[in-house]
């Protein structure tokens, strides 16, 4: 064991003397720290903005004057997607989704004003977060620093010397792995501090932060093994460097884009335009509440009359127009939900396609895990939209019920006067509260990606043992 440690120590000593390497390490640490800081600031600012808008909208809703409840159905309300605390670590899809959702009767709107449509194409270069630094830049720095750990010793002849002096190839490799792992730990340190700060501020669950830290540690360890392995297998430093750079490019830059392209083509999504028309068509097919001869609504009327045991709408103890509103909203919402679910199923099928590419490029598995744990993945977004829709439905139906109970049928049918009810009713409507995905469920959905990452670790480790061990064994003989 002490041999292993001595080899690592020697490597560290050499590293400290390489000014370029130290500069790179320093720069990346600074970048990492500033990424953590700015991403946190950004998150705080965005979260504060959205909370302020939400409070304003809630207050405005409560402050509406006495009105007919159906006016409030059209007035509607807005909900704003709150940000998960860990978005300061990995912003995930946040910039690519809308965060302002207008909720009104009869319609299901899209969430709007996402950054992606409010920024120049500069956004497409990526967003500076600790996650981006660790996903893309840290492996590259490991390549720069470590491509020569074995190949360099081979080129200078010291490798043969060491191996003939009784250092086992396994010990040698372990020493080098330890040396580079030390560097990786240094690279991970700013992110670890950021995660610690996030969980100490009691905003992020410590377990989630720990899971993220473990995932990124595994990711860097994976690259440590890749770098040492390639450096051991290829004869020259130059070849090792070029090979590693090519690998980095293919795995981290090229494959993710190809995967996204493949997923888009494999499962095309219908446009909102089309969905809106389909919903309108299905709705017409179901019935027209304004048409007195419509079979569906004639049936509904009969059923209501029978239920209350009266023969005329005027004799109902409740306002029939309110009941009609409730029934109409139920029908449209069912359609909206069906189409929205279908769209999300397709999107999730696309994402599964992407995940399958994780078997080819581990960065996709890491990203899936990171986004999921940070609550910035498609599923979290869907949760927001689903909860928003549920809130919309409850609110609209509660307003419709107010119309049914508080306003008389005859009064409601008189075109010359707008019946109104007291504004205190608006205040009685509960506010929207977003419930983030429970931690257990989050971790469970991140588990497959973690499995892929572990499989990569095991596979690379096995490859390292086999190929590199054999090659070094040959040198020693």
């Amino acid at each position: 064991m002490s041999t292993v440690f001595r080899i690592a120590q020697e490597e560290w000593r050499l590293l400290r003397r390489r000014r370029v390497a130290m500069l790179g390490l320093l720069l990346l640490t600074v970048l990492s720290l500033s990424a953590a800081l700015t991403a946190w600031q950004q998150r705080q600012a965005v979260a504060a903005d959205r909370a302020r808008y939400q409070a304003q909208v809630n207050q405005e809703f409560d402050a509406q004057p006495d009105r007919h409840p159906h006016r409030m159905v059209h007035y509607g309300t807005f909900v704003f997607r709150p940000l998960n605390a860990l978005a300061a670590f990995d912003a995930g899809i946040d910039a690519y989704t809308g965060h302002t959702l207008f909720l009104e009767g009869h319609r299901q709107n899209s969430a709007n004003f996402g950054d992606v449509r409010q920024s120049s194409l500069l956004l497409r270069f990526g967003q500076l977060t600790p996650a981006l630094v660790l996903q893309l830049l840290a492996p590259l720095l490991l390549v720069f620093i470590g491509h020569g750990v074995v190949a360099g010793e081979r080129e200078s002849g010291t490798l043969r010397l060491l191996l003939t002096q009784g250092v086992g190839p396994g010990q040698f490799l372990l020493g080098k792995l330890l040396a580079l792992s030390g560097v990786a730990a240094l690279l991970l340190l700013p992110a670890a501090l950021a995660l610690l700060a996030l969980s100490l501020s009691a905003k992020a669950p410590p377990l989630a932060a720990a899971a993220l830290l473990a995932a990124y540690a595994a990711w860097l360890l994976l690259w440590v093994m890749i770098v040492v392995g390639v450096s051991a297998v290829l004869k020259r430093r130059r070849d090792a460097l070029l090979g590693l750079l090519a690998l980095w490019t293919v795995l981290l830059v090229l494959l993710p884009r190809l995967a996204a392209d493949a997923a888009t083509t494999a499962r095309a999504l219908p446009t909102r335009f089309e969905t809106d028309i389909d919903v309108a068509r299905d709705l017409t097919a179901m019935g027209d509440s304004h048409n007195p001869d419509d079979p569906y609504f004639a049936g509904f009327r009969r059923q209501v009359l029978a239920q209350y045991g009266v023969s005329k709408l005027e004799d109902l103890p409740v306002n029939y127009k309110g009941l009609l509103g409730i029934e109409g909203e139920r029908m449209t919402s069912e359609l909206f939900d069906r189409y929205a679910d279908a769209s999300f199923e397709r999107q999730q099928a696309q994402s599964r396609w992407m995940d399958a590419f994780g078997l080819l490029s581990p960065v996709l598995a890491l990203r899936r895990l990171s986004m999921t744990v940070a609550g910035a993945d498609l599923d979290s977004y869907r949760r927001f939209l689903v909860q928003g829709e549920r809130y919309r439905y409850t609110l609209i139906q509660s307003l419709n019920r107010l119309q049914a109970v508080q306003i008389g049928y005859a009064e409601d049918r008189n075109p010359n006067r707008q019946a109104r009810i007291a504004h205190s009713h608006w205040h009685d409507q509960p506010d929207f509260i977003y419930e983030p995905r429970p931690l257990g469920q989050t971790l469970r959905s991140a588990a497959p990606a973690a499995g892929v990452l572990v499989a990569w670790l095991v596979a690379i480790m096995a490859a390292l043992m086999l190929a590199a061990g054999r090659r070094l064994g040959r040198v020693g003989r």
Partner: protein, 452 residues
């Protein structure tokens, strides 16, 4: 010309060179094909939407022409607007994966309809598309680095450098020719598929010339940078490290830092605010005296002043008047929102003066008409068309004319914009300047490296 044959033979013998060039050509081709497929999918979607929309309008027409009330017709009839991809859009898909391809609007308040989004998978948008712009901006520099970083050090490491240096002028000539040939081959790998694809897709001469110009300048910039580093007396691994760090800095770190700064300095929260304010103003109309609303409306639209007074019961002209007043009440916010968005774009363009990758991105997407200005142009067009819709219905609503079946046929039709490709000279010139400057500097450094 025998040197050319000789150099070509050298390249053919180097597996790295041949593989790099073949892969680059292949990636460019795949990106172009993939982009073209996406664009044709968008066109197909549009042709598929048109009859769907017509049948939707036909259903409204059937239901609404009986009573002859223009107010109902205007309320229920949707109008389709669409933003077909330009003939060069396949080169750089830009914002087209997140912005609506087509938007349905009606005669109600426009500001509540204009910002409606498209349904798309944000996880895929986050990754980005594999288009030619990506291959050029991100991947091509890596290939150039692989081909040129050891131009000098490779000879040194193989021991031929001393021999070359012994012959006066031979070394410089060799570097220039060799680098020139390799860059030429890289250009060929990018430009041949690009030219062919743009020809087939009918992108037009200006777009083709512009795109080729951007490719030429960007490749020249990276070639120059490689020569500059190659001329340093470093080992080939140090040179590769330096160049790769430069790539990371220029295409990853600096643009993301700049984006952060721009987002922070130029907030565009006016979008959300105008939406909130417009809704507030529109719905307040139900609680204020209707005559007061009409008087406010007549102030900005005196042409309807002389029409009949409002009856006791509901009347559509009051309804459409307050809808329009709602839009007008947020005109200042709308202008501020657009100014903010354009300011973000302008600062990105200015950043292009410093970062060639950002300049190339802005130039290509302007040529392809898939950037933020293109989105804003589409919004402005929708706005103008919405004016036409209002102008079409108002005479019926305000003069209480019957709106019959034949009037449905007279409704305005959206005509998609014919936007000719734009080459943004103010950005091409700095890019070309960078390319020439760095290339010249590289050649100068190579010549100097011979002297000592």
């Amino acid at each position: 010309m025998s040197w050319l044959v000789h150099e070509l033979r050298l390249i053919a013998r180097s597996r790295l060179c041949v593989a790099a060039l073949l892969i680059l050509g292949l990636l460019a081709t795949v990106a172009l094909v993939s982009g073209a497929r996406e664009v044709s999918r968008q066109r197909e979607t549009l042709t598929h939407l048109a009859p769907l929309h017509e049948s939707d309008v036909a259903a409204v027409k059937q239901k609404r022409s009986k009573d002859g009330d223009a107010g109902y017709a205007a309320y229920y009839t949707f109008y389709d607007t669409f933003d077909p991809p330009s003939a060069a859009a396949f080169v750089a898909l830009g914002l087209r994966d997140v912005a609506p391809l087509a938007l349905r609007i009606r005669a109600l308040g426009l500001q509540a309809q204009l910002y409606e989004g498209e349904s798309f998978n944000p996880e895929l948008a986050l990754t980005g598309r594999f288009d030619f712009a990506f291959v050029l901006i991100y991947l091509a520099p890596l290939f150039i680095i692989a081909l040129l970083h050891d131009l000098v050090s490779g000879e040194r490491q193989s021991g031929r450098l001393r021999l070359l240096m012994a012959m006066p002028g031979a070394a410089t000539r060799l570097w220039v020719r060799r680098a020139g040939l390799r860059l030429g081959l890289v250009l060929a790998c990018l430009c041949m598929p690009l030219g062919l694809a743009m020809g087939v897709m009918g992108s037009g001469g200006l777009a083709l010339a512009g795109a080729l110009g951007v490719v030429l300048a960007y490749v020249a910039f990276w070639g120059g940078l490689c020569l500059l580093i190659a001329a340093c007396r470093w080992s080939s691994t140090t040179q590769a490290t330096a160049l790769m760090s430069g790539w990371v800095l220029l295409t990853l770190v600096l643009p993301t830092l700049a984006n952060l700064a721009i987002t922070k300095r130029i907030p565009v929260s006016q979008g959300v605010e105008l939406m909130l304010k417009q809704r507030q103003n529109v719905h307040a109309a139900w609680d204020e005296p209707r005559e007061a609303t009409m008087q406010r409306f007549f102030r900005s639209h005196p042409e309807w002043q002389g029409t009949a007074a409002l009856p006791v019961e509901f009347h559509w002209k009051w309804y459409y008047a307050f809808q329009q007043l709602g839009d007008e009440s947020v005109a200042a916010e709308v202008a501020a929102y657009r100014t903010g968005l354009l300011a973000r774009q302008r600062w990105t363009e200015r950043l292009g003066w410093l970062l060639p990758g950002v300049a190339a991105q802005a130039l290509l997407h302007r040529l392809a008409d898939t950037d933020l200005p293109a989105q804003l142009a589409y919004q402005r067009r929708i706005e103008a068309f919405h004016g036409d819709i209002r102008a079409f219905y108002y005479p019926y609503v305000f003069n209480e004319r019957t709106f019959g079946t034949e009037d449905f046929a007279r409704r305005p039709k959206y005509v998609a914009a014919e936007r000719p490709p734009q080459l943004a000279w103010p950005q091409l010139l700095p890019l070309a300047g960078w390319a020439l400057g760095v290339l010249g500097l590289g050649a100068w450094a190579l010549r100097r490296s011979r002297e000592d």
